[in-house]
């Protein structure tokens, strides 16, 4: 095992980790603001990326405008899902399981719709910062991956500030923690939930757009991203976007180090075993906090 191989594994691990983190952050944002585990978070990424691809190639929009279009598409879909389904179900006091089923159903139909209407081709977007690569001791990392890492870190910090520094962020959390308490404190609970889904959709779509220069998007990408994002979010503590970032990078690194350290055949076995061990050692997630025990 050479040093450059280790370095390459680290690069790959961090890059993938940021991808998982971006999806995980969206998932944790939605969970934070609505207590819904969004099984279609990966689909937001696909929607964002696909819209950008189509706007860029079919409609001929400039890249920046297409990116904005993709992000808005994600946000709109998020808003639509809240207004059309979640709100209605929340009124009926639907259980957590049924929200999970809702998002699974939406994920299935969205991915099938993309297969049906857009086709099964994989698509790529041009990388930010050009096709260039950075070579460190024979290990290669694309400029775009560096951008991705920077943006990922920026987004994590921004999200954290948003939740704890802005009233609207606080209100979004409050509304999900105790709806009655929030309503009597003058917070419009339903609107906060819509904002939450808009935010989740936006984050998901941006994440999707950002990874598409590295990973070709196609109709099946969503589920894969959702699973990894879910692992990242839960590993980090679920209600903490910063945790999702840490969780994502941990997962990415464990995966790529398992490949060079053990064997690529057992990559998933090793990565998921490590995941289980981490959770058993830290049952609240890496950055999670234990609540008050007892009475």
């Amino acid at each position: 095992m050479t040093l450059s191989l280790v370095l390459q594994a680290l690069f790959a691990g961090v890059t993938n980790g940021i991808v998982y983190a971006l999806v995980g952050m969206g998932l944790s944002a939605i969970f934070k603001g609505s207590r819904v585990i969004n099984a279609m978070q990966g689909e937001f990424a696909v929607i964002g990326a696909m819209t950008t691809v189509l706007l860029l190639t079919k409609a001929g929009w400039p890249y920046a405008a297409a990116i904005a279009g993709g992000a808005i598409a994600g946000a709109l879909v998020g808003a639509f899902i809240e207004v059309a389904f979640v709100r209605f179900m929340a009124k009926k006091n639907a259980s957590e399981d049924s929200f999970l089923l809702l998002t699974i159903g939406l994920a299935l139909s969205l991915s099938a719709s993309i297969l049906y209407f857009v086709g099964r081709d994989g698509h790529l977007l041009p990388p930010l910062g050009g096709e260039g690569v950075l070579i460190v001791m024979d290990a290669v990392i694309q400029f775009h991956a560096l951008w991705l890492i920077a943006i990922g870190i920026g987004a994590t910090l921004a999200l954290r500030a948003f939740y704890h520094r802005t009233t609207i962020g606080l209100s979004m959390m409050a509304a999900s923690i105790d709806a009655d308490g929030a309503a009597t404190t003058g917070i419009n609970v339903a609107r906060m939930r819509t904002f939450t889904f808009v935010l989740g959709g936006l984050l998901g779509a941006l994440g999707g757009i950002l990874v598409t220069p590295l990973i070709a998007v196609d109709y099946q990408l969503g589920l894969n991203l959702t699973l990894k994002g879910f692992a990242a979010a839960v590993l980090g503590g679920l209600t903490n976007p910063l945790g999702a970032a840490v969780g994502g990078i941990t997962l990415g690194l464990v995966e790529s180090l398992a490949i060079i350290g053990i064997s690529s055949s057992y990559k998933d076995v090793v990565a998921f075993s490590v995941l289980i061990v981490i959770m058993i050692l830290m049952p609240q997630g890496i950055l999670g906090r234990a609540g008050r025990r007892g009475g």
Partner: protein, 235 residues
């Protein structure tokens, strides 16, 4: 509020309840367990839809006003079980209320941040810790502080003395008295008639979903000493 009725599912809990709290007046609502007091509070503050009747505040009909708009009408409530945002810090809990209060009243704040936090020194000490880590009584104080920061002219409290040490109850009574002097109205739901009688002028007695007795101004003493009445309505 006139001939209000409400309930859960197939169950009708409130039947034709009418009561009135005057401007700056303090009124108590007492009654046995399960009489429907909490249900009444939830209906008034918009968490439960009224099935009949009207709720009017300062001349405007707020029967159908959603809960989150009631702060604009100067109504604040301390719910049973406090309903705080457990994972948020004490400060964040309070900031949320203050923002809404500021929006409702503009510069003309009745209760400033400093004033309210000074009322509960313990709360001030634990500003940064998540509310769920506080003890039951400490949380109750945060809940009251949060309601005050909404700048209400009518405060509804559902069993605020629950879990509070006698000294704190006394302190709160003092606070409420002070607030009343500044013109705030109060609807107090309280099991402990002793406490209720101390700070309210009038009271309604509720039993199985209806008002069964009214205690007029100055009648508290006679009510409390009348063993028969107390037993009939509260026992």
């Amino acid at each position: 509020m006139t001939s209000l009725s409400a309930g859960y599912g197939a169950l009708t809990v409130l039947r034709d309840v009418s009561l009135k709290v005057g401007d700056g007046e303090a009124v108590a609502l007492v009654g046995a367990n399960g009489a429907g007091k909490t249900t009444l509070v939830r209906t008034v503050c918009g968490l439960l839809r009224a099935r009949g009747g009207r709720i009017v505040k300062n001349g405007s009909d707020i029967t159908a006003t959603p809960a989150h708009d009631l702060a604009q009408h100067g109504l604040a409530v301390v719910l049973e079980n406090r309903r705080l945002f457990g994972e948020l810090s004490v400060r964040e809990n309070l900031i949320l209320a203050e923002t809404v209060g500021r929006k409702a009243r503009g510069a003309d704040m009745r209760f400033s941040w400093d004033e309210v936090t000074a009322l509960f020194p313990v709360v001030k000490e634990r500003m940064a810790s998540p509310v769920e880590l506080l003890s039951g009584g400490q949380q109750q104080m945060v809940a009251i502080a949060r309601a005050l920061l909404l700048q209400p002219d009518l405060l509804i409290m559902d069993e605020p003395s629950t879990g509070l040490a006698p000294k704190v109850v006394k302190d709160i009574l003092l606070v409420i008295k002070a607030l009343r002097e500044r013109g705030m109205g109060l609807l107090l739901i309280e099991q402990n008639v002793g406490i209720a009688s101390e700070i309210t002028d009038r009271a309604y007695v509720m039993s199985v979903g209806s008002i069964v007795h009214e205690i007029g101004p100055g009648e508290w003493q006679s009510f409390l000493t009348d063993e028969r009445l107390v037993r009939a309505y509260l026992g």
